[in-house]
């Protein structure tokens, strides 16, 4: 009886395990394996040891991709969390049209990131410069996506517009867990809105803050669709993210092995950052 039951449970997980191993773990292992070779994606190959890894660290294009991705991810993560928390606080207040407003703020989440990026590209290249020059505002009268120093701002704006929807919802879920009596107690104690937020609300939604920071950062570090849609990595390679670099050079540029090494480094970077964030933020929570 017990054995039969155990066998049944085993059969429930084995097919999924095989599928997962074949199409997730096995490709990861292949990637790691080829990162120690000179494989171009076709033809013969030889082992080259750690050569690819050393080369990535001296590759200005790879380093600039890391630089851009970090800059973009950090700024977008911070902005998206600040904006989301404010929208969530607003939606959680005693407002009119709550359901409609909530539904409206959530719209970006259901849309294809790539298509939204194409729409934003048109806004940045045509609509904003039009408005800028007719109002005489110098700063937006030219296409920011065409400027290597400013193009990243366009990507941040799009990414925040898109990601705020989901983060707002997470914060709303967090705010819903707070007992109203806590607020009443705070107001009886004479706390103002600012104090209430920092001393009462924020500590109580801290676990959601942790999750939001980690998830947002991880997603932004993997940015791909936004960049393909907005700039294609340009002008030049000024907005090339790590994902995009691995895609273009790894599949089209005959750098299968070299970009695999880059992907392994990228993987390690993401794990280290996520673990670091969890540690630091959870310590904050504990305080």
């Amino acid at each position: 009886m017990k054995a039969k039951k155990d066998r049944a449970f085993l059969w429930m997980v084995v097919p999924a395990f095989i599928l997962f191993f074949a199409f997730h773990t096995f490709p990861v292992l292949q990637g790691v394996f080829f990162s120690f070779t000179d494989y171009k994606g076709y033809g013969s190959w030889d082992f080259t040891g750690l050569k690819n890894y050393f080369n990535v660290f001296q590759d200005t294009r790879a380093l600039s991709a890391y630089g851009f991705t970090f800059q973009f991810a950090i700024i977008a993560t911070i902005l998206v969390n600040i904006i989301s928390i404010f929208i969530a606080l607003g939606l959680n207040a005693n407002i009119k049209f709550r359901k409609t407003l909530r539904a409206t703020y959530f719209i970006p989440y259901i849309l294809s990131v790539l298509i939204v990026s194409y729409i934003f590209r048109f806004i940045f290249t045509h609509v904003l410069p039009d408005i800028g020059s007719s109002l005489g505002i110098e700063a937006i009268s030219t296409n920011i996506l065409g400027n290597p120093d400013l193009a990243w701002i366009g990507i941040v704006i799009l990414a925040v517009w898109q990601a705020a929807a989901f983060n707002t919802l997470l914060y709303l879920a967090g705010l819903a867990t707070i007992d109203q009596q806590v607020y009443e107690a705070a107001s009886i104690d004479g706390a103002n809105a600012w104090q209430t937020f920092w001393k009462v609300t924020f500590p109580l939604v801290a676990p959601f803050f942790t999750i939001n920071m980690v998830v947002a950062m991880k997603n932004f570090l993997m940015a791909f669709d936004q960049i393909v849609g907005l700039t294609g990595g340009g002008p030049g390679t000024s907005t090339e993210s790590i994902s995009l670099l691995i895609y273009t050079s790894g599949l089209g540029g005959g750098q299968f092995a070299y970009q695999s090494a880059n992907a392994v480094i990228y993987f390690i970077v993401i794990v280290v950052i996520s673990v670091f964030q969890l540690r630091v933020l959870e310590r904050r929570e504990a305080k």
Partner: protein, 273 residues
């Protein structure tokens, strides 16, 4: 808080904020209806006539019905497989989590959430074409593999809240583990089926990267991939491009208008877990 009076200041601020959300959508509609001649004037003005010509051209040029159908196949296949397979896996894991093997399996699956896709990307292209999986069905399989971690995580959290007594009673009545799952547990997991279904459907429908690297035959392109493939042609005709974008996002917007409460509720339930 229902007894308190309405906070109009915050209401007004939030309404103003929605302008940022709605502006790109407004622009998309306006441009999609205009003619190329009207593009010289004020871009934000309403079109002179509401003609559907751009849409008819876009449907023809991009083979819209075909790509809509392709997106639908991948989405439906992914959702059905995710609900059947992931719930089963999560049930077995949740009920045996005290055993080393299942505990290991759980951590093994969940850790996939931190594996960036690019490390899989290059090998998976070779693997899918080698196995003849560079088609819609292969794409659906890969979609559920990529979403296994999150979905199993959501399901396991929920199964833990289902009292085990129900299953013990069923076992005493002579029901097998499989019967118990399909007859008792699977129906009880309905709220999470909704959550997993919604998350998987949105991900599969809007996905770009996986179709981009997996699909090789143009007739199998999904809606986002078609927009990408037609960029060259679109750059000379924005009105055609925006008509095509609008057509591509419209199905999801229509679904959202009718099911927004359900969709938001589903996503929110997944996030509290």
């Amino acid at each position: 808080m229902s007894g308190l009076k309405i906070n109009w200041k915050i209401t007004t601020l939030l309404i103003l904020g929605t302008l940022f959300i709605l502006f790109p959508l407004y622009l998309t509609i306006v441009i999609a209806f205009k003619t190329p001649e009207e593009m010289g004037g004020n871009l934000l003005a309403l079109p002179e006539s509401w003609s559907f010509d751009n849409f008819l051209t876009a449907i023809e040029v991009t083979n819209f019905y075909q790509s809509f159908f392709n997106s639908l196949i991948v989405t439906v296949a992914s959702v059905v497989m995710a609900i059947l397979i992931h719930s089963l896996v999560a049930y077995a894991i949740a009920r045996n989590i005290h055993k080393k093997f299942y505990k290991f399996l759980y951590i093994y699956f969940i850790s996939a959430m931190f594996v960036p896709f690019p490390i899989i990307m290059l090998p998976i292209v070779k693997q899918t074409s080698f196995l003849g999986m560079d088609n819609l069905l292969g794409l659906a399989f890969l979609t559920i593999v990529m979403h296994l971690a999150l979905n199993v995580f959501i399901y396991v959290g929920y199964v833990k809240t289902i009292p085990i007594a129900l299953e013990e009673a069923a076992t005493i009545d002579g029901a097998s583990t499989w019967t118990t799952f399909w007859k008792i547990i699977f129906p009880l997991m309905t709220p999470m089926h909704a959550t997993v279904g919604i998350l998987t459907a949105l991900a599969a429908w809007n996905d770009f990267m996986l179709p981009l690297i997996v699909l090789s035959d143009e007739s199998q392109y999904t809606l986002p991939l078609v927009q990408y493939a037609f960029q060259g042609q679109f750059s000379t005709n924005y009105n055609l491009a925006f008509a095509s974008y609008l057509l591509a996002i419209l199905p999801m917007i229509i679904v959202y208008i009718f099911a927004q409460k359900w969709i938001i509720g589903g996503v929110m339930r997944g996030s509290v877990k």
